[in-house]
């Protein structure tokens, strides 16, 4: 759900202004209490104060009797997250720095999460390319999404986006390893590298690594029923913009685990780069 930069933007700014008197623009991240009349009554952005925020918010809510709330179908559509195209397979990703280098900010011990979409057309492409048992290049869209959007250091928070032209290497190949009735199991692997610079936010940021994994496809539905992969990389960044904590100094180990996500939550939460629309996310391609 996108609160800023989309159709909810002016409504949301108004809610923040009324809930957080001290807010002077900028980020609206934080915690808010809404009354049953549909308006925000309180907001804050400090985790230790959440219990008192809830208590105070509850008091304010009691003081403002509920009124009928007019929420139109258009309001609901405006608040909806980008939805995956029908038949899309969804993969859940988890990023960690392991081990966290000595002396690094404790924020580097946190967990990064995201989702990868693989379309039914891309799965059909895999089935077709692998039918003979030979190695073949993974679909370009899948490779680009992994290299640009997902094999990233999002441990301390949202990533300053990478660009396709920053990726110098992303060669991922797959191979059919087993066929069993209507199921096909593939293995895949590949190397990737990227590097960029955006002064004054950072002068040198990069990542080099290798991904290995396997996945099973149901031929009839062109859906991935099982996905297991891990990316093992070295990353570096001299970024100073992140107030939550700097990345470790020097090169540090960054790991990404990937598993299939067939639950209902995975259908409701779009990949972070798709929040403003799935088309941009799905159509990204590497230049080479």
């Amino acid at each position: 759900m996108l609160l800023t930069g989309g159709p909810l933007n002016s409504w949301w700014q108004q809610q923040v202004r009324s809930a957080r008197r001290e807010w002077g623009g900028g980020s609206t991240q934080g915690y808010y209490v809404f009354g049953a009349d549909g308006n925000a009554v309180l907001g804050d952005n400090f985790i230790p104060r959440i219990p008192s925020l809830l208590d105070r918010g509850h008091q304010l809510w009691r003081q403002n009797p509920a009124r009928p709330v007019g929420v139109s179908e258009q309001n609901i559509r405006n608040a909806q997250t980008a939805v995956a195209p029908p038949g899309t397979s969804i993969i859940r990703l988890f990023n960690r720095i392991r081990p966290v280098p000595p002396g690094a900010s404790e924020m580097n011990a946190m967990l990064g999460r995201d989702y990868l979409w693989i379309t039914a057309d891309e799965v059909r492409e895999l089935l077709s390319a692998g039918a003979g048992g030979q190695s073949f290049a993974m679909p370009r869209g899948v490779v680009a999404r992994l290299a640009v959007f997902h094999l990233v250091d999002n441990i301390r928070g949202q990533v300053w986006p990478w660009q396709p032209q920053s990726v110098s290497r992303a060669n991922f190949t797959a191979r059919l390893v087993r066929a069993n009735g209507g199921a096909r199991m593939f293995s895949f692997s590949g190397d990737y590298a990227k590097r960029d610079s955006r002064p004054p936010q950072w002068n040198d940021r990069g990542q080099e690594g290798r991904v290995e994994g396997e996945f099973e496809v149901d031929v009839t539905t062109a859906k991935i029923t099982r996905f297991r992969a891990i990316a093992d990389s070295l990353a570096w960044s001299d970024a100073t913009y992140d107030r939550n904590g700097a990345p470790p100094s020097g090169r540090y180990p960054l790991l990404t685990a990937m598993v299939e996500a067939n639950d209902e939550l995975a259908q409701r939460v779009a990949p972070e780069p798709a929040a403003q629309g799935g088309s941009f996310y799905l159509n990204v391609r590497l230049a080479r």
Partner: protein, 74 residues
């Protein structure tokens, strides 16, 4: 079906051997129970649907906002 049998005997064993190690490495990176504790809350993902539902139930709404979806992104 003939091709299936052929591929299984030709390539199946190495893939299965790799699979066990892969599973272990992945498991070591998955969220702990504590890291997934907040997922036990039945969060709504559409603020307008939540406001409408709260209005019907006469309840307040607690909203968590961050850069990146709290339920799945950074």
């Amino acid at each position: 079906m003939k091709r299936s049998t052929f591929l299984m005997s030709w390539l199946g064993a190495p893939a299965l051997a790799q699979s066990s190690e892969l599973e272990q490495r992945i498991r070591a990176l998955l969220p702990s129970e504590a890291e997934n504790g907040f997922m036990q809350v039945p969060w709504r993902t559409n603020i307008m649907e939540a406001i409408a539902e709260a209005g019907r139930a006469n309840k307040p709404v607690f909203l968590w906002v961050m850069n990146g979806n709290p339920l799945g992104c950074a």
